[in-house]
């Protein structure tokens, strides 16, 4: 009787991507925010080369974290506005498949913003960010941000304070992800030897998996009585 797990996951993902391609609501807001944030940081910090090397990874990750919060709020509000959550719950589908679909959509959109940030940071800060290892860290970090973010956004979308509450609830919990991502990025762009920082991607991977499993199994409790 139940609709297949992956069919639901990809139906939700396709629906979100189609709506996003049509309206570009998320990408335009997040992209503009990211651009502003990077520029403002570069003004505010007025750094020499050495200081830039240590600061840029912080700038990138703070920007990614806040941009993802903006995107997650929008993405969940689109489900709430017309009661669409109910529509999804009415269907005979696995709740965790709904989570996976929403999560993958958020992940891809935030990743796209992150991918735009790298050349932008390279340009504005004159530090080569486009490196395979940085890309890997970007993927892993955004993966962790999006899984926790998707779960918590579904939760806060149902509260009174909504948008404000998401940042308060999400930032402390994603701290392990941000910490590992920032440290790894800093080490990579300062060309440190790999054995100095390889633990960070490993930690990131472990944290990502733990968070994904936790969110996967608790999502049902968040959207349904």
């Amino acid at each position: 009787m139940k609709t297949g797990f992956w069919q639901v996951t990809f139906a939700v993902l396709r629906k979100d991507m189609l709506a996003e391609m049509r309206s570009r609501e998320l990408l335009s807001v997040m992209g503009l925010f990211a651009l502003l944030s990077v520029i403002i940081f570069s003004f505010a910090l007025e750094l020499d080369r050495e200081a830039r090397e240590t600061a840029i990874s912080g700038v990138i990750w703070v920007t990614v974290a806040f941009a993802s919060i903006i995107g997650l709020n929008r993405s969940m509000n689109s489900e709430r506005e017309q009661g669409n959550f109910d529509a999804l719950l009415l269907a005979p589908v696995d709740r965790s498949a709904l989570f996976l679909g929403k999560f993958l959509g958020n992940f891809l959109v935030v990743l796209l913003v992150g991918l735009v940030l790298l050349p932008l940071g390279t340009l504005l800060y004159n530090i080569t960010l486009i490196q395979p290892w940085v890309l890997l860290i970007l993927v892993l970090g955004i993966f962790g941000l999006s899984s926790i973010g998707t779960l918590l956004a579904a939760m806060t979308a149902q509260t009174r304070a909504r948008d404000a509450l998401l940042s308060i609830a999400m930032l402390p919990i994603v701290l392990p992800v941000l910490l590992a991502a920032v440290r790894a990025t800093t080490s990579i762009i300062s060309n440190e030897p790999i054995e100095n920082w390889i633990t960070w991607p490993q930690i990131l991977l472990v944290v990502d998996l733990i968070y994904l499993v936790l969110c996967f199994f608790t999502f049902g409790f968040v959207i349904e009585e």
Binding site: I148, L151, L152, M155, T156, Q158, T159, R160, A161, L165, I168, A169, P172, I173, L175, P176, L179, R183, T199, I203, I210, Y211, L214, T218, F221, V222, E225
Partner: protein, 247 residues
Amino acid sequence: MAQAKAKDIAQEPTATPSLLRILTLVTVLGVVVALVFALVIAGTDIEQGEVQRIFYVHMPAFFGAFVAFGATVLGGVMYLWKRDPKWDRLAVAGVEVGFALALINLITGSIWARPIWNTWWTWDPRLTSEAIMVLTYAAYMMLRAGIDNVDTRRRFASVYGILAFATVLLVLFIIRVRDDTIHPTVVGNSPQNAQGSFAATSGVVGALMVGLLVWGLIVPVTLMWYRIRLENMLDWVNRKKMEVLSA
């Protein structure tokens, strides 16, 4: 039927059970004994002097917070499974007691750091992660306050209480992965650049053990028991209020 169902949600408040009275007495005595151990029996630290004695409260308080936040995880998991509000009462008690103990931990640490590190506060990895942990549980309380429907509130709080424990683990493990902390480690080797370590003599170990027992176990359990009873009473009053309003 509906009546019977509603009764499961909150028990009628009872007089303080004698076990809790005894436990309260034990707690008060325990705190006094732990202070005696810390202030009199343990020897004065040669390097740090008298201020080192604060450690006998500082470290056990974190342990107590750990126990309380652990109770929140247990309460959250059990509530999501059984949907019995008593587990959510355990979870909320854990958060509030843990929050208080974590604050004690931060404040005593700060008082100790003033003479030893020559500053009240520093953005050390362990201190920063603990501050974040405290903020996470503040967010937990805000989340609870932001939801009107009691069932929704309990469900969300359970999920968040489980997730929030990640920050507690971060505080514990950050010393292992970030070697630039100056915070001394109690279990295992302190990082090389730790400032303010000390040797464990028998007096130190004794005072620490008593401190751990009192602050790490007896105090949180007693406080949580009171808090659970209080939450039950609030639910009971709410239920009565709704009954009167809708009669």
